[in-house]
Amino acid sequence: MKYMIMTFGDETAWDALGLGGSQATWSDEEVAEHFQAMGAFYADLAASGEMVTGFGLADPSHTVTVEMRDGRPVASDGPYAEAKEVLAGFGIIDVASHDRAVELAGRFAALVQTRVELRPVMDGAGQDL
């Protein structure tokens, strides 16, 4: 059964890794270590067959809102509301149990050092929906 693990962060999360509006606030070693740890985690999951996909998202300033107005989709920049924490990245895992999903979410939270959220994915494959 599939789950999505979502990580959250504010602007500083991107700034730390040099993915925001300036050079990384972390040292090169810290950045390398972080990506190495993430890579190792993903490799573990790939090896166990539990990895479906996972990505980090670009800085939230690049967000575009698309909504229907008068029956036509309209794109606008934003939202501009100062969000303390926005979606920073996500991974989709395919695991045998809810417990295992929670365990992996815990490892993920330790890696990214933030709160993560875990949600079942409705993939239509099981009767557990």
């Binding site: 925001g20 509006g21 300036s22 800085d59 690049h62 939202p79 501009y80 509301a81």
Partner: protein, 190 residues
Amino acid sequence: MDLSPDIEGLLRQLAPQTLAALTRRYGHFDLAEDAVQEALLAAAESWPSAMPDNPAGWFTTVARRRLTDLLRSEQARRRREQSEAIRTVPLASDAPDEVWPSGERDDSLVLLFLCCHPSLTPPAQVALTLRAVGGLSTAEIARGLLLPEATITRRITRAKQTILDSGDASPCRTRPSGRGGWTWCCTSST
């Protein structure tokens, strides 16, 4: 600024490529152009003394960071403008009651107090005030607050319900016109 022909040639090549790449990836042609200009400046300053190992990668990274920085500034500015606009909504009821002939008072002050009901969140107070006191349509409020119309509709509906549920017709102590004001507020213009 004197640049070696090599560096100048490389920058001439990288600038349009990077502008195209940024625009394709993030949109914002105008800001991307500014970002590339700033990356050009940064390269012209630092490359003559320290050429990066991967000039194209260096240039793209710097331009991308500048674009993000420019977007953040612009969005922060819009947030400031937005909160300023909200703060300076003119209050038609600021004038003293005496300006109205006796027997005819402006109930909009009562309405205004009601819209600022303490059980409402500030966003709800703002939306309800713009609707009930300001007379703006949901679409106009949504445009002004840069929010989807559906959000404002829900916000106003919930605000009215919250006031209804609170059982307190008006938070102002004197309640000059009794429940009239709030009944109007909660039943008209959905």
